[in-house]
């Protein structure tokens, strides 16, 4: 894989990552925020796999699998939290969920 090709992958990964970041920071719907988080995770997966192929190492692939596993767990817990929040109030806006305010 040529260097130019790798930089395309990395650029795409960066774009996806910042889209995810923007989704988490700017949106107030917890479901969309969770999707943003997933986007960030997968952007990093893309970068890992791209670097792994470029340098002929399997470490990046393995790490990507690990990230997928963690992402699954994260989605499960995140969704569970969202369900609990739904139970507390009908409106779903993360800015209203501030009971951990110090």
């Amino acid at each position: 894989m040529a260097v130019g090709e790798l930089s395309n992958y990395v650029t795409l990964s960066a774009v996806l990552f910042f889209l995810g970041v923007a989704g988490v920071i700017l949106r107030r719907n917890p479901l969309v925020m969770l999707m943003g988080v997933e986007l960030m995770l997968n952007a990093s997966n893309l970068a890992l796999v791209a670097f792994s192929r470029a340098w002929g190492s399997m470490v990046g692939h393995i790490f990507a699998f690990l990230v997928i596993t963690v992402a699954a767990a994260e989605a499960a817990i995140g969704l569970a939290i969202i369900v609990v929040v739904f139970h507390r109030s009908a409106r779903v806006d993360v800015d209203d969920v501030t009971i951990l305010k110090g």
């Binding site: 988490v24 917890p30 925020m33 800015d95 969920v97 951990l100």
Partner: protein, 645 residues
């Protein structure tokens, strides 16, 4: 070769019994006292009588000598290497043991009468027995450590007994003062012990005295002076004497036993016991001799200004101990110890005689309100007169021999100035003692209270309980000095030959013989008595005695009424600075530094909590933003600085 202060090591059940019987008595009385009360007095007295008997039976052990070893040494325990604790009964400690248990027994008997009806009489006898145990620990110990233990315990017993009537604030204050000053002395002895152990690695008398030569002169002087701090506090030497007059707040038998006959002479015992140290240190001898002489003189002068019969006797005690310390201090050990022996009897007798008067007058102690007691209380007159003649040093009473021995010994050891002070003190002593005697016994009664029908003592004990001990004390008061007749061949000198035989010898034979010295002393004493007679006992002096005494009280110089301002000086030098330090600690260190410091820590913790709490907005998106910024910062770092390995 003579082994200093090492006895023949063996088991001595009699010695152990002498030592432990009073402790057993004290423990028994403490545990059962409230239930047995008056029977406790008899119990405590019986126990002490038994201790006296075992002490008498121990005399052969104490006098046994073999291969240079003298007396009985009973090993007890080895606490640490070099610190073996045990008992030592040699002629020196035997003398003290006999006085402590013998005079102690008589005073116990007297106390049954004196304290009859006191609701805490069992507690009193528990304290008395405890004191005897503590004092025996002090004199029977064969090492400095045991001595220090006894030294501290007698101070504690003294504290208990001075403050026995704890409802009296003055008694409580006096007991506290005595304890504090005595603890200052304990610290001195402790420091001496530290030096000795660091230098020699042992604390047994035998071990230390055998290696005195290893100590440098300055170290030896330091040891002697630290030991003397203890002596000065315990034996009421200037300037640590101020507790002794105040200690008269205790019951009169206590004054007789502890603050006249035994405890206050512990300093004399210590110096006599440690005579190898003093033999080797001329500077220490000079210093202690001078302090003793000053104490003798100061005590006698202060005795002039007192109206309380017990305080007069207290100052005379201080003055007489000054003589003893001067004697043993300059190296005339036998003379100093002889004066202790004589003083134990005549001063106990004086106090007990005064106690009879005080008791009969319903706790009246002011001699201005006595007067004319000669006819009403002939027995008290006999007791006080013989005691006074003995303390003044009139032939053939015991004080004559002992005081002369000290004064001539001081001269022989090369201290003519101290001799002069001693003779002057003898004259003043004669004056103030006969002043007391004339004011109390001569002329007309000056008190409305009639003798013998006093109020306040519900229970009357038979009079013989208080008179018999005094009568028994009169015998040694008169006769004890005769033991010293015959110079170096006297029974007294031969008794102490094993202890002091190898000690310091007089500098040189003097031009003045001992007989001349005795004549000088007797003349000035008679002069003092004559002066007292002309001031207090002539017919016209007696006719308007109340006015004259009142005028004397008003004209008394401030130096006398304030006891040379020693109390004020000690107050200014030690008490007030200590209080100021205490106030400073309470007000500044305690409040600002300790409390304030703790408070500041809590304020800091709270502020820190507030600070970090402000980060916890609760807005999930804000957390996400910080997270993203953190990641951006990491990324920026690696882009700008690069990855380095």
């Amino acid at each position: 070769m003579l082994h200093h202060a090492v006895g023949i090591s063996a088991h001595y059940p009699l010695l152990l019994a002498t030592w432990l019987l009073p402790l057993a008595g004290a423990l028994l009385l403490w545990s059962t006292g409230p239930r047995i009360q008056a029977k406790g007095a008899v119990l405590g007295t019986t126990v002490l009588g038994a201790a006296f008997v075992t002490a008498l039976l121990s005399i052969p052990d104490a006098l046994r000598a073999a291969d240079g070893y003298v007396g009985a040494q009973q090993p007890l325990v080895t606490w640490l290497p070099g610190m073996s604790l045990g008992l030592l009964l040699d002629p020196l400690s035997l003398l003290w043991t006999l006085v402590i248990t013998g005079v102690g027994f008589l005073i116990h008997v007297y106390s049954i009468g004196y304290l009859a009806g006191d609701r805490a009489i069992a507690r009193f006898f528990a304290y008395l027995n405890f004191f005897v145990f503590a004092m025996l620990t002090l004199v029977l110990s064969d090492n400095f450590l045991g001595l220090l233990v006894g030294w501290g315990l007698v101070g504690l017993a003294s504290y208990f007994l001075i403050g026995f009537w704890f409802e009296k604030p003055s008694a409580v204050a006096a007991s506290r003062k005595a304890f504090v000053i005595n603890v200052a002395g304990d610290v001195g002895i402790m420091l001496a012990i530290f030096i000795l152990f660091a230098q020699l690695g042992t604390l047994s008398y035998g071990g230390v005295f055998a290696h005195v030569a290893q100590l440098s002169p300055s170290t030896l002087l330091a040891v002697c002076l630290f030991l003397f701090v203890g002596c000065a506090a315990k034996s009421a030497q200037v300037p640590l004497h101020t507790w002794l007059p105040d200690a008269m707040e205790g019951p009169t038998p206590v004054s007789a036993l502890i603050h006249a006959a035994t405890m206050v002479t512990a300093g004399v015992y210590l110096i006599a016991r440690c005579h190898p140290l003093w033999d080797a240190s001329p500077d220490a001898r000079a210093f202690v001799g001078v302090v003793g002489a000053i104490t003798a003189l100061v005590g006698a002068i202060l005795g002039l200004g007192q109206w309380d019969i017990k305080r007069i006797l207290a100052y005379s005690t201080m003055s007489q101990i000054g003589y003893m310390i001067m004697g043993v201090g300059v190296g005339a050990y036998q003379a100093g110890v002889l004066h202790f022996f004589a003083h134990a009897f005549f001063k106990a007798q004086l106090f007990l005689g005064a106690g009879i008067i005080i008791h009969a007058l319903g706790d009246e102690q002011d001699i201005r309100r006595m007067g004319g007691l000669a006819r009403k209380m002939p027995f008290a007159l006999l007791a006080m007169l013989t005691g006074t003649l003995a303390i003044c040093g009139i032939f053939p009473f015991s004080g004559f021999f002992s005081k002369d021995a000290i004064l001539y010994g001081v001269l022989e050891h090369g201290h003519p100035y101290l001799y002069f002070i001693g003779v002057l003190t003898a004259a003043i002593t004669a004056y103030y003692m006969f002043r007391m005697l004339f004011v109390v016994f001569a002329g007309q009664a000056r008190t409305p209270a009639s003798v013998g029908e006093h109020a306040g003592h519900a229970h009357h004990a038979p009079a013989w309980l208080m008179q018999l001990p005094v009568a028994l004390l009169i015998v040694p008061t008169i006769g004890i000095g005769w033991l010293a007749i015959g110079g170096e061949q006297s029974p007294w000198a031969r008794f102490f030959e094993p202890i002091f035989g190898a000690s310091l010898q007089p500098l040189a034979r003097l031009g003045m013989s001992e007989a001349t010295s005795s004549l000088v002393v007797t003349s000035v004493v008679l002069l003092g008595i004559a002066t007292a007679f002309f001031v207090y006992a002539t017919p016209q002096a007696l006719r308007n005695a109340p006015e004259r005494l009142q005028r004397e009280g008003q004209r008394m110089p401030g130096m006398l009424t304030h006891a040379f301002y020693f109390d004020d000086a000690l107050d200014g030098l030690f008490v007030q600075p200590t209080r100021a330090l205490g106030r400073f600690c309470a007000a500044t260190v305690e409040r600002d530094v300790l409390d304030g410091g703790v408070h500041d820590i809590t304020v800091g913790a709270r502020w820190l909590g507030h600070f970090f709490r402000s980060f916890q907005t609760g807005f999930v998106r804000a957390y996400a933003l910080v997270l993203a910024l953190g990641v951006a910062a990491f990324a920026a770092y690696y882009v700008l600085v690069g990855v380095t390995r």
